[in-house]
């Protein structure tokens, strides 16, 4: 369709965060009336690309970007979201941008209220104009009707509405904007029931027919293929494929999403596991209410000396598992370690049983940022096992000698780059902070180590080092490890088995050498747990 005008053209977009390239020469265009799918793993750069398009302040704060944006035929360089909105770009957010105490109408018309002049407003400010609720409601009704979604009353308060309805209110707000030319949907069906999702997809097609360009971001590949005209696959900040929807398949997209050259980093040898390993950890029907990473009931076992990987896309519950086992997030089910039941929702129980945890949230849960390195290292073992203490008269106080000795050993062993054991950990680099977190967990002398996102936000050299440390602990000390990571390639390098989570349940347990397509399909929920169960038995 060469005659159809292009609404959005992003040309050669490149963006770095603190020297880490997250987008490399990305080109993307959306035509009028086209639904353009954008798929990719977490961290592939979708969010950053959208932040650039919307002029989110975070982009300018981190040094801007290079490349050009042409919107509606004009050069476009948004510096704040307001400009993007004014230009005619609408965004339906993943998390709802609704005010619960307001009615549907008030939300749809938020900051775009229709007002009437009055005596005071003429004297002072337009801000004092009276709201014209009747007209506002009429507009809202029209926008809701355009979506052909029954059951939303324009006068009803948003609080207490089903999530699906809230989603439609969001969309109604975007299409009520008169000049809207491009709508961005960020995983709009993630919170919807199947029938609601079907209505939404229908509505999208109808909007497209009105000539609005739509950028559709989703993990559900079948959905993408069903409604999109074209699909772009983003991987590691690069566009790896741009296909017409009719000319590709779910399997191809999945492969493109996760596949990547394994290279650059050295692959250590995996320790061979004995065929009949003892199950040290038995998890049954674990459900975890972790906000945004909900686990809806998983059962699995971990063998002695194994590195078990847990992977999956963001929001599908992979991070919930370790947090649930460690008692840090509300959980139910049963976790047995070495035959003993661990009481859930009680971190002390898990720690005393010999489990140790390196949290994915390094800066908030992993560290006391304003404390010295050596105190960070010692604190947990001091609280849990009473290590690093000595008696002074009636007091049991911290023992500076043993803490210092342990800190110096650790700095050497883990190669932590620091000015000394008294340095504040806030001043360490991300990689060195991560080493401190791991060393702190090791100070507990754990029998099972849970590590979540060990390489997130650290540079390549440090990544290698952290993986080596984990590998060495496993190989030399026989430490059993559960490693949760968004970096599939890393899981495949050091794990013996990899659990893939989808929608809060186990979508499959794959061997590290399963094909890219298999990983891709399992991660995007295209493959049911039963089918991938084969891998378990054939191993």
């Amino acid at each position: 369709m060469p005659s159809v005008p292009v609404v959005l053209k992003m040309i050669g977009i490149t963006k770095e965060f603190y020297g880490n390239p997250v987008l490399k020469n990305v080109n993307l265009d959306v035509k009028q009336g086209e639904i353009h799918g954008l798929v990719g793993e977490n961290g592939a750069g979708k969010t950053t690309l959208m932040n650039i398009l919307f002029g989110m302040p975070v982009i300018q704060e981190t040094g801007g970007f290079s490349g050009r944006i042409v919107f509606d035929g004009k050069e476009f360089l948004p510096r704040e979201p307001r400009q993007a909105m004014a230009a005619g770009i609408g965004m339906v957010h993943q998390e709802f941008m609704l005010i619960p105490g307001f009615s549907v109408t008030e939300n749809i018309k938020l900051n775009r209220e229709i007002t009437k002049e009055n005596f005071l407003s003429r004297m002072f400010s337009r801000k004092l104009e009276t709201l014209d609720m009747t007209t506002m409601a009429a507009h809202s009704r029209k926008a809701i009707d355009a979506l052909a979604f029954e059951g939303i009353d324009e006068w009803a308060p948003v609080a207490g509405m089903p999530v699906g309805h809230k989603q439609f209110v969001e969309i109604a707000r975007e299409i009520d904007k008169e000049n809207v030319k491009l709508l961005v949907f960020d995983e709009p069906t993630a919170v919807l029931t199947e029938s609601e999702a079907a209505i939404l997809l229908d509505a999208l097609k109808r909007l497209a027919r009105r000539g609005i360009g739509i950028l559709f971001i989703s993990h559900r590949l079948d959905e993408v293929l069903a409604i999109c005209d074209r699909v772009t696959v983003l991987r590691d900040g690069e566009i790896v494929a741009e296909k017409k929807a009719g000319e590709t398949t779910v399997i191809e997209l999945a492969e493109r999403m996760v596949g990547r050259k394994v290279g650059g980093l050295r692959v250590p040898d995996r320790v061979k596991l004995p065929e009949t390993g003892e199950d040290v950890l038995v998890v049954e029907d674990l459900a975890v209410n972790m906000p945004g990473e909900r686990v809806r009931g998983v059962s699995f076992t971990v063998k002695r000396g194994e590195i078990l990987g847990i992977g999956g896309l963001a929001g599908h519950g992979k991070l919930g598992i370790a947090n649930g086992i460690m008692g840090l997030q509300p959980a139910s089910g049963s976790v047995r370690f070495l035959g003993r039941e661990i009481s859930l929702n009680d971190p002390v129980s898990a720690l005393r049983a010999g489990l140790a945890f390196v949290s994915e949230d390094r800066r908030n849960i992993g560290l006391l940022l304003d404390e010295a390195l050596e105190d960070n290292l010692a604190l947990t073992a001091m609280q849990v096992h009473g290590r690093f203490l000595r008696r002074v008269g009636p007091f049991t106080v911290r023992d500076p000698g043993s803490i210092r000795r342990y800190a110096l050993e650790t700095i050497k062993e883990f190669d932590i780059r620091t000015t000394g054991p008294r340095q504040i950990v806030r001043r360490l680099s991300g990689g060195n902070q991560q080493k401190v977190c791991i060393a702190r967990a090791i100070s507990l002398e754990p029998k099972l180590l849970l590590v979540s996102e060990p390489t997130r936000g650290i540079d390549v050299g440090a990544k290698q080092k952290v993986l080596e440390i984990l590998h060495r602990l496993n190989r030399e000390k026989g430490l059993t490890i559960i490693m949760t990571s968004s970096e599939l390639v890393e899981l495949r390098r050091i794990c013996h088995r990899i659990i893939i989570m989808y929608g809060g349940i186990i979508a499959g347990i794959l061997p590290p050498d399963a094909s890219d397509a298999e990983f891709g399909l399992t991660m995007s929920g295209e493959r049911s747990a039963e089918r991938s169960g084969e891998h378990e038995t054939t191993r």
Partner: protein, 369 residues
């Protein structure tokens, strides 16, 4: 009448006004005071205090909580009164003049307070309270030491014999009852200051209209969710600032009405308890830290002052000591504020907990209130 319907509504919707209503009734009975005496006292006090209480509404709607910094408005008003008393401007002219003088001061102080609260998001109330205490020091510095030294002024009626600093009490001989006596009627012995009530009515009307404007809508949006409001393009900080400025100006008007009725200015104390009593009044009407209506402000002030009047008499007849009653009303004022704060924080805490249990993303729950 709309007002009465609202009073009735707030009485039934919240147990606090009901409980204190009963307590007041009990106090009235044991005080042994005549109805006509109590009625006159209550009418006088309502006229005196209502605007001060009403000034609290806008910040509550804009999510700033109870505006403990309203003492700044009171200080602005007192400055205006001092200037007019010094210039010996009598009656309603003096009142208007005082308002004209205090208005820009209130705007500036409101601007300062608003900026400080924007810097202390999430702890606006304690910051507002501390700002009130701090400005009290500045106020004393100005009127106790700078007047007559840095600020040239000579007026032995107002000033201390040492030549600088204002007297502790200033008789407002020119402005006493300036507004109250403008127009009042006497109904079988009950004197009702109509002009004052007309001004109060005007403020109520203005507040109600404000909530129906774009600005009012912005206040509510910012008050409920700053993040969503800012994503929608509303300038959150400016909106909050405006709310505090409006509140400070209204508070200064309220303090002017208050002082013209009292007739004496306790130069260094008149403003100190303003916030405590006004806030306690509002809360007795069933308002909360996040929700307050004109009806609650009116009803709460009525209850608070009825309680205020009868407490010493009730203390006298129950315990044989009027002082017990006096301390009781102070206790009620502080206690009701403490209770409201506890309920507010407790509910936020519970919401967060139950949301965590349901596994909702945190943002969802923050907005649920």
């Amino acid at each position: 009448m709309k007002v009465w319907r609202k009073i009735r509504e707030s009485l039934t919707s919240s147990p606090i006004p009901l409980v204190f209503g009963i307590l007041c009734l009990f106090g009235v009975v044991v005080s042994g005071k005549s109805w006509s005496f109590l009625l006159q006292e209550v009418v006088t006090r309502l006229a005196r205090n209502w605007i001060l209480v009403l000034s609290l509404l806008v910040p509550v709607s804009a999510g700033l909580g109870l505006n403990f910094s309203m003492v700044l408005g009171a200080m602005a008003a007192q400055t205006g009164i001092i200037v007019m008393t010094h210039l010996k401007v009598p009656g309603i002219l003096g009142f208007l003049g005082a308002f004209i003088v205090s208005f820009p001061i209130a705007v500036v102080l409101g601007f300062v307070a608003g900026n400080i609260m924007n810097k202390a998001k999430g702890r606006e109330m304690i910051a507002g309270m501390m700002l009130g205490f701090f400005m009290n020091g500045v106020y004393q510095l100005v009127f106790l030491f700078m007047v007559g030294t840095v600020i040239p002024m000579k007026n032995p009626d107002l000033m201390l014999p040492q030549g600088f600093g204002l007297r502790n009490t200033v008789e407002l001989k020119y402005m006493k009852y300036a507004l109250d006596n403008l127009l009042n009627v006497s109904l079988s012995g009950l004197v009702i200051p109509l002009a004052t009530f007309a001004l109060i009515g005007l403020v109520c009307l203005g507040l109600n209209r404000l909530y129906k404007t774009k600005l009012g809508q912005d206040f509510r949006a910012v008050g409920q969710d700053m993040h969503v409001a800012s994503v929608a393009g509303i300038d959150v900080n400016k909106t909050r600032l405006l709310a505090v400025v409006i509140a400070t100006v209204l508070a200064s008007l309220g303090q002017l009405v208050f002082l013209q009725n009292i007739g004496t200015l306790n130069t260094y104390n008149s403003h100190e308890q303003v916030a405590t009593f006004a806030i306690a009044s509002l809360l007795l009407g069933g308002a909360t830290v996040t929700r307050a209506t004109v009806g609650q402000a009116l009803a709460g002030t009525f209850l608070f002052h009825l309680l205020f009047i009868v407490s010493p008499y009730a203390g006298q007849s129950l315990m044989g000591s009027p002082q017990v009653g006096e301390y009781f009303r102070v206790f009620v004022a502080y206690g009701i504020i403490a209770a409201a704060l506890v309920v507010h924080a407790w509910e936020a805490h519970r919401r967060a907990l139950s949301a965590a249990k349901r596994g909702l993303p945190e943002g969802e729950t923050d907005r649920a209130g």
